[in-house]
Structure formats: C-alpha cells, structure tokens
Homo-oligomer: 212 residues x 2
DNA sequence: CAAATATACTGAACAGTGTTTATTTTCCAA
DNA sequence: TTGGAAAATAAACACTGTTCAGTATATTTG
C-alpha cells in the first residue's frame, strides 16, 4: 500500500535544496546578463555555468520566461536599494527629484537590467492570468505615494496621482528607452555622448514645469 | 578575351528585377508583421510566402537586420502619411497637439510597426558605421522644426529646440512603450482598458504644461 | 541489509532560428 | 550551340527553447 513517503525533515531539506538550486540559476543568470548581455543568456549557457544539463533547469522553472521573471525580481531589488540609499530628502518634491535622478543613474549603471525590467517582453509572459506585477509594484507604489504627498501638499501641478505617477515615469522611461535602443543618437546631430547631459537637462526642466 | 558582358538594357532590367524582388520581400514582411506579429517574421517564413528558398533572401539582403531596416522605412512612410493627413492646423501649438495625438493613434493602430520603429533593436543594427538614421530623421526633423517655430513664436516654455523635441517625443514614447510592453497594466490597479484614456489625459496635461 | 519505490538527473531528439557554401539551374553573348 | 556569368537552391552549421525516455541516486519499506 502506498502511504506517507519521506519524513518531514527530509521534505524540508529537499525544499531548501530546490530553493538553493533556483538561487544558483538566478544568480548565474544575473551575472551573465550583466557581464555578457541579455542576448547571451540561454538555457544551455546557464546550464553550462552551473554544471548541470539544460533539461535540469526545467525541473526548477516551467520555462525561460518564469526564470527571467525571477531575474527581474533581483534587478528590482537592486533598484530598490539604490532608491533607499539615494532618496533621502524630507521635502517631497526634492525627494521626487532625487528619485528621478536615481532612476536615470540606474539605467546608466545597469542598462541590461533596465532592459529586462522595463523593455523586454519575456519576463512579463510569466504573468498570464496573474493580476499583479509584484516586481514592479513596490517601485510604482513608492512613486505613487510620493506623488500623492506632493499633491496633498500642493507642490506639484498634478491633480490625479495616477496620472502624475505615470507621467513622471513615462517621461524618464521615454528618454532612457529611446537612448538604450539607439533611437536618439543618429537623429539630426544628437550624438550618443551628449545624450546623458541632455537627459539630465530635460528632466530638470520637466520637474520645474510640474512644480506648483 | 573577357570583355563587356551584358548590354546596358539588360543590366537595367536586372537592376529593376533586383529592386522588384526586394519590394516583394519587404511587402510580404510588412504584411506578416502586421497580420501575424513581429515574432512570426523569419527568413524561412518570408521565403515560403514569396516562393523562394531561404538562401535566396541573402542574395538581396546581407542579413535580417538590413531587411528589417527596409521594413522600418515602410513603417515610417505610413506614419508620415498619417502626419500629413492629420497635422493640418496653421497655429503651431495646435499642430503640436495634432502631432501628439496622431502619434498615439498610430501606436494603437499599428502596435507591431511601432515596435519595429522605436523599440526593437534589430533594424538599428543595420546602421553601424552609418552616421544618420534616415528612417527616423524626417519625422524627427518635422517635430524639430515645429518646435523651433513654437519657440520662435513663444508659444512653448522650451528655450532649446532639441530638448523640447526630445522631451515631447520621450513623453509620448514613454507611455506608448510602457503600455506596449505590458508594464502599465498590472501595477497598482491600472487596467489595460483604461490606459488609452489615461494616456490621452496625460498628454493633454503635458501639453498644457509646456504651453507658454 | 536488500528490495521497492520515489525523486533527481541527463542524452538525445524535436522543431525552430539566422546564415553559409557547394552545387545546380537559368540566362545571355559570342 | 556552346562557354561563361548570374541566379537559385539543397544541405549543412551552429545556435535556440523544450520534451521525453531512460538512467542514476535517495529514501522508505519488508
């Protein structure tokens, strides 16, 4: 007769080992994405580096999208760390300025991670029939509450926090993504070298304009 | 002795045929990208539809990136048509408003083309060691000159046309691309259905803010 | 401890991708 | 008609994500 297999201690250890394996997979994927670029991240390359067969990856992740979702989680964690360290001011509008510049800095320091977080489709495929994007939510929420505070204290022109939040985000993301995907330089004499300076200038001007 | 091969008429016909083949390739690629999505566009699928072998494509295009660059050219041509039809006002600021809304409309009517034009990396790889992005240039130039006119007539707050142009473009593109790549819905209760309305609202508010 | 079974892992294959090369077919000029 | 240039292709190469049958390892049971 088939009955209780494995005692509780072993089950716990197996779960721990499963989690550890997933960690190893995600860690090596993050390393590869940062050091060699997103395009070099393949199941086979990951398998090579952790010294397992490619098929083994599929015992820990349903597909590559799910794996990349966990890599994205990691990327958002490093962004959160940046924010926590750099967004310190007590004045809400100054905090908004710090946040915007921290966002731009992150995109420059970790362009491949930024790509995975905000541009690449793959990790979002892991969200089908899920209603929340847990990875992006904390960052969005942080900006949203900051925006709400700015509205409450009447330091910005926005009336609606959602529109204010999305507007600031879209403005920054628009610049970053056009630049990352090579659409800015090579149009009418805007070179790649001058882009960071122009972006900073534009963001400053935008913040000046939304200021109440 | 080896001497003048092919008379002039035949050479001309051959060149015409070469151009016609490229047309067929690009046309079918555009059709596929619109009807089946960018991901379904492969050299083999294109070859199937034009009834040639995959290797033949490489007699007319160095690689897929070069092919996609020509598809992008086509996409920009349809955007230009939209602009020409919809951006008609004599007042420069109203023309700016028309342009912004035409841009958003285009992204909704042709999301896959928008992707190829402004997000996907591949077509830009065709530009290595080229200093100008001929595809994007006319659209950028149009907005730039419009912006310059707005600045000259003091109907916008911008002082620098480059920053003004890039700012408006980045703002619109930021919204469109975040939405297209599924980053907007599924964050803190912003659903996919309400996004177009929010985007219109945000653009209107932005234009109000840049107005002098 | 040995046998039975549940779990972990992998080699090999499948179906795709972009691209190259050797070979064949088609076309044109002498 | 024949020699040679040009055009087209079949087949292969080196990748990709993914699946599955079969092997190896762990763990529980008799």
């Amino acid at each position: 007769m088939h009955c209780k297999l494995y005692n509780v201690g072993i089950i716990e250890r197996k779960e721990r080992e499963k989690a550890e394996m997933r960690r190893r997979i995600v860690d090596v994927a993050v390393k590869m994405i940062v050091e060699e670029g997103y395009e070099k991240v393949s199941i086979r390359n990951i398998a090579d580096k952790i010294e397992y067969s490619p098929a083994t990856i599929y015992l820990y992740y349903k597909d590559k999208d799910q794996l990349l979702y966990d890599v994205q989680t990691e990327a958002f964690a490093t962004l959160a760390k940046d924010f926590l360290q750099k967004v310190t001011h007590t004045d809400p509008f100054k905090r908004l300025e710090q946040l915007a510049h921290a966002y731009l800095d992150f995109s420059r320091n970790h362009p491949e991670l930024y790509d995975l977080m905000f541009i690449i489709k793959a990790p979002m495929n892991a969200l089908v029939e899920k209603e929340k994007w847990e990875n992006g939510d904390p960052a969005y929420d942080g900006l949203y509450h900051l925006m709400q505070e700015c509205i409450d204290k009447k330091v910005v022109k926005f009336k609606d926090a959602t529109i204010g939040t999305l507007s600031v985000w879209a403005f920054a993301h628009g610049f970053v993504s056009l630049h990352l995907r090579g659409r800015c330089s090579k149009v009418s004499g805007v070179s790649d070298e001058e882009m960071p300076a122009i972006m900073n200038e534009a963001i400053k001007e935008y913040l000046r304009m939304i200021k109440a």
